[in-house]
């Protein structure tokens, strides 16, 4: 992680001097993380791809405004958060679906792909705010204070969203795990 930060800092410096290739390398290092975060958040592949594109374009345009290159990850995800919620507000207010399909029925043991689908379905039952808290913490590994900066809210709100989401996920997912189905 330290090496990655050092290299990111170098690539950011190159991009700030107008080195497009340097920025392209930076994009290639972060595109998968950003795309997966957006895919789980907006839950639509083409939208996630379009928003990813927009995120990296905005990041390039605003790179000179990034005060501390060591905080690039949080800064990038702040842009992604803003873009994703802009999309959710504009086009997909119906995203918070109450009638999502149920996770695969418990059997003598779920295949990895079935388990992955169960997790995806369980995440889909959360509100976008709760889901995002899980994505940033569990999948992206941000600290609470970094999440608060990305989401633009107090740490207490971050914890509230995350803990509510985990309580819900525990009831959905943990029983399957406890029965030895993972």
């Amino acid at each position: 992680m330290i090496f990655r930060e050092v290299e990111d800092r170098d690539l950011i410096a190159r991009a700030r001097k107008g080195d497009v290739e340097g920025y392209n390398l930076l994009v290639s290092r972060w595109e998968k993380r950003v795309f997966n975060y957006l895919l789980r958040l907006v839950r639509h592949r083409e939208d996630a791809l379009d928003v990813s594109q927009e995120v990296f374009l905005k990041a390039y345009q605003n790179l000179p405004k990034l005060e501390d290159p060591q905080r690039f990850a949080g800064w990038l995800f702040r842009i992604a958060h803003n873009e994703a919620f802009s999309l959710l507000r504009k086009h997909r207010p119906e995203t918070e679906l109450a009638d999502e399909p149920r996770p695969p029925a418990a059997g003598p043991g779920l295949l990895p792909i079935e388990l992955s689908l169960a997790v995806e379905t369980a995440l889909g039952r959360l509100t976008a705010d709760q889901r995002e808290a899980v994505l940033l913490k569990v999948y992206q590994g941000f600290k609470f204070d970094e999440m608060a900066e990305i989401l633009g809210c107090p740490v207490s709100t971050v914890k509230s969203r995350l803990y509510t989401a985990l309580d819900q996920l525990k009831t959905t997912l943990a029983p399957q795990a406890l029965r030895g189905e993972i």
Partner: protein
Amino acid sequence: MNCDHKSDWNAYALGELTAPEQRDAEAHLSMCEACRDELATLRLTLDTLSTLREEEVPRRIAFVSDKVFEPRWWQALWSPAFAAACVLAAAILVHGFLQPAAVPQAQIDAAVTKAVAQVQDRLVDLDYKSQQLTQAYMTNTGLVRQ
């Protein structure tokens, strides 16, 4: 859960407690089965969440001028538009080579003078024949005095 302990097990499982808070929580865990169960359920949930498969980006995110994926100069040339331009240029060259050599101006002037003279002779001849025919017609129809 029947325990009044104030440890934040979510924060503990997520690695967000300070060192003193963590020590306090672990001391409590060693003597509280209810909290151990609570933590075990939480960890199972987190382990299950970690099974979600990461998706590959469907297509590379294009950005500004992507030199890595720019075609080589010879690949750029090998396009339908370039091929059409080559064919057109070749046609113009072939057409140019097949054209007869340019004729000197003096030769053109002589030919024009000769043609004009021939036309004038022809006109004179036609005028003469026309007069003869007119005369013959008038004689035959009695319009001319004998």
